[in-house]
Symmetry: D2
Subunit: 347 residues, 4 copies
């Protein structure tokens, strides 16, 4: 692909963990030309002085951070805008960009929910751009590939949700499990909490520590239950407990389910194998997933164990929260939007 | 306590992680005189050359490892024997010691089950000393304190079981939760797997890794379900998924339960607070437990969250797998057996 | 020791890492009664709600944090005050306490230097209580034991300095090495940087990271060179490079030296063995030190290697930066001041 | 590059850490077709069942491990052979491959030394293929690029050596520093010790641990001093102390030097900047290197600090030991040998 054919893109909010990972992927993406990166805090600095990993890598050798001013962004020549901003703020940027006819891949929660009321319930306050919700597509390609191709705004799926939806949705679609019986215990690496100067995220607090948090109503439940309900054809509510584990990256989800009446637990694994046999980024196997095997990749690994003694089935999944759970997923969505092979820059 | 009043003890199998922790606690215990430590591999070496942490600490300044020969052990002057050996081997040592009238605190699984058939089911092979099972007491002081005091053989409770039984037993005793609905997701630090030269336990394999293992029928289920059934007054089976987390120590258990019909979820926390208000090593509070806060201590921290949306209640616990989950518990049992204050050497 | 004989102490600034470790040690110290703990941020809260490790441990079961107001402190009944405050602030508290006849163990750098000009050079600004410098004793018991016993103010030695001075001072005292040729490379766990909400100390920044910092003139050089010069009988300047390693605790120092003319490198180890043969907290051996073996202890481990090819000798040391490098050292100093056995509460 | 133009390669010994990293890089390399991977232990298994990271990635979706039999290897169609074997064994494979006219990139130490006697001194025993030493080129492209292009056998440079030679060689070439005064303190992540089932490499032994090892004559000194001597034009011997740090990947080297008489320490940084201004994988800057910024990349980051007080200059470098220190370097060498752009598959 020649440089002139590359899609010009901008990255708004490039210095958080997801933003940095996004830069790292796009810097090596053969179908992209990064024309602008923004950071309020670091405007005017070289990319490499803020994100040393990117020094000497592709476009980032020369890029400077700019202020995230909407006028500048509209003039920067980008066709697609990646927003790696806190929720709420993302929508404020998305609205004028969308009005100007730009396409948007948003990594925040702002465009993941179809219903503004649900947004308010989980995130507080009114949605900052409710008129965009009907335009936006939930950005989990394995579930909504076709809609993503043509979307102007994609709300790229969250990290926990990806690890939970991929194992569950095929089973709910076929009615194999009882929606009311779903219980999820997940653990995330600390990068999932973002690059925030908070005492609770210090090395000294997180190392040699395992703890639950965000109980009982973690924000990600909003998009998880939206998509589960869609698959089940009825309202689904689950119990979900996230934990913080002492590692930089990775999400592991352990999902307890019960087969529907008359369904053999032996049917679960074949259903998942069939559902994802053609998917480039979902690996269903008999081996128990390990976050380590997905680190730095866009894969989500899934396996199944049957607990004959109690009749429950245990679904297990692992992914890199910053790749398939954030930046890689955003690029996978972008590839679909841009008509590129879905795996471009991601394998 | 003068040196002459100290109880002479021997530690059989002192160079695994639990054994080392036991040495570390007993070296500072004012009511104990360690007269022998054994290690097949290290017989003849100074304690400190094998366990450098213990160099210059109490009795260990001078102790040499000896061969674990039963005759030598019988002659070493010990009154109480701590066995920190693999299951199966522990019983082989326990039998002659018991016949000689010695008291035993066993850290393996050999004396935790009342039923030899259950042992065979979960551990394979026939129990090596079934005649001792009726003598043995399950060594979780919060549940069996009085029996432990007079026991000749105590099968000190395991790490996962301690973290799961302490939150659940008071609730089952009062019928507050539905036994069939118990689902447990636990995570352990790597020391839980022992000091074994296996590839899967290398730093390079465990660091930055989170994975489930031992599914679906982990051996610890045998003692967990034995004690849960005892509390519930009927056979209980649970779903239990252990995970390996990238930390040296610590166990965190997340336990999903459903209140019994007519029971308010609000009743759970007060019940646990009341059950453990006088216990020196169980801390029930409103704060979410963190393994880090228990590291190096004999505490088990417990808290409760209510998921109003689904009606489930989530019990959370944390402990140091090598202390309250192994060596500290063994010493707590010993203190009871020796008529010492229960917290001696442990706070 | 009966409760009435215990020395009443106050801990000013109890919620940093060193302060917390100090609380943890003193809570178990049989010669101490903790009568007050302060924290500007947490005044009014229970000790255990801020420092959950301490819940249910000794005096800390009931203690509440109080404001660090000097009048309150003077009235709290303490005889000895531990100051675990940032440098500069410590001296502000020390001055009125000292004037009121109280004894002080300071964990900051404020009373480690004999010369106010040196303080200004390394820490910036004028020393806040220069009149106290002549009163203060450098709190490294292995070097200044007798002076510490009678001191009103002890400036407890720093973490890097302890790990560097203990191996070097006996060699300089005997003229065995060339002062100009000393080069030190140290690595510290992240707790050494304190519990500060800074991005650079986040888990995501420190995990899987090793980096030098504070080059070339780290503040600890001031006290290191003061004591080295004292031992050498002439001004000594060294090259010192600290690194941050991805662990919670521990300092490892690798010290490159050259034997003086006519001195055999073989003389180094015996000199160190002799120097510390009676010291309870310095372990000289042939084994290479490992920070892990000192974690949670007040030991400093030292060894020696000879590089015959280049004629250099390599001294290696390890300690727990929060214990022998901070809180344990402070308590060791306190024990001397209080006339207690030096190891009380520390083994 | 069309599939037919890709260079067919074989990877002998693909399941150690370096071998796995090599597979990971080559799986994504657009100029390579991996036709064979060997593993004595895993012959017959799918690549992905042994190295789950590689499941679904390029050629590795279908590859099976084969026995490392020389006949099979000669027939597998490969033109270039990557050897990721223990030293000694590598030469045994290299000899027949070379005789058959195959080109070899060896990741072991077998072809790094020009002198078989030096090999015997540092590695023990006679060199298994001394006749190949004159054919072999030291595989550090920044030093020997032109010779590598035409070489039949490249002994890819080691991890510590790369991090030490890149900062030092330009300075020695220009006579800016005193060779006798070089002192090096390095730290490596645990993967540097290989995927060996040894107790000392367990998570429980390495986590929260920092320790020196391999003192005073680490094997890597042989190649370090060979190349330093070449640059200095005279025999150079240095003092080198490696440490093991609790991280999976990364090497950090801190190098203490003294400027030659009449040389300003200020000249060092500009010399390094000039030396590497055109190098794609060496980043010299004013920022202190951090292993984290090089993880997963083929970069070596270098910086300089001047210690005016003592006249020493401190060179600091960081790299990923498995990439620029092993597999990435091997691929960089391969790219040169194959006439491909040097950065192919590496940025």
């Amino acid at each position: 692909m020649s440089a002139s054919q590359r899609v010009p893109v901008a990255i708004v909010g490039a210095n958080g963990y997801s933003g940095e990972e996004l830069c790292s992927i796009l810097a090596r993406h053969p179908g992209v030309h990064v024309v602008a990166i923004t950071s309020r805090q670091h405007a005017g600095k070289h990319a490499g002085s803020v994100l040393p990993r990117l020094t000497g890598v592709g476009d980032f050798s020369k890029l400077l951070f700019i202020e995230p001013a909407i006028e500048t962004l509209l003039d920067c020549g980008a066709e697609v805008y990646f927003l790696a901003l806190p929720h709420g703020l993302a929508a404020e940027f998305a609205l004028p960009l969308w009005k100007a006819g730009k396409r948007i891949v948003d990594l925040s929660a702002d465009f993941r929910l179809r219903d503004a009321a649900r947004y308010s319930e989980f995130y507080g306050g009114a949605h900052p751009a409710p008129e965009l919700l009907s335009e936006a597509v939930y950005g989990l390609p394995e579930l909504h590939r076709e809609e993503i191709r043509g979307a102007m705004v994609v709300g790229s799926a969250g990290c926990y949700p990806t690890s939970i939806l991929l194992p569950l949705v095929p089973l709910l679609l076929q009615g194999l499990i009882i929606p009311e019986e779903i219980v999820v215990s997940s653990a995330s690496g600390v990068s999932g909490a973002g690059r925030k100067a908070e005492t609770a995220l210090l090395f000294g607090e997180c190392n040699e520590s395992l703890r639950a948090y965000g109980l009982p109503k973690h924000r990600h439940l909003s998009e998880i239950e939206q998509e589960l309900s869609l698959a089940a054809g009825k309202e689904v509510m689950i119990t979900f407990t996230p934990h913080l584990a002492p590692m930089s990256r990775g999400i592991h989800s352990t999902i307890f389910v019960r087969p529907s009446a008359g369904v053999s637990p032996e049917a679960i694994l074949p259903t998942l194998l069939a559902a994802y046999s053609e998917e480039p980024f979902v690996r269903v196997s008999e081996s128990l997933p390990d976050t380590k095997h997905t680190t730095g990749t866009n894969f989500c690994d899934i396996s199944v164990r049957i607990d004959c003694r109690t009749g429950r089935v245990i679904l297990l999944s692992a992914e890199d929260n910053l790749v398939k759970g954030a930046a890689g997923q955003a690029v996978q969505n972008f590839n679909l939007m841009a008509g590129l092979p879905e795996t471009t820059g991601l394998i």
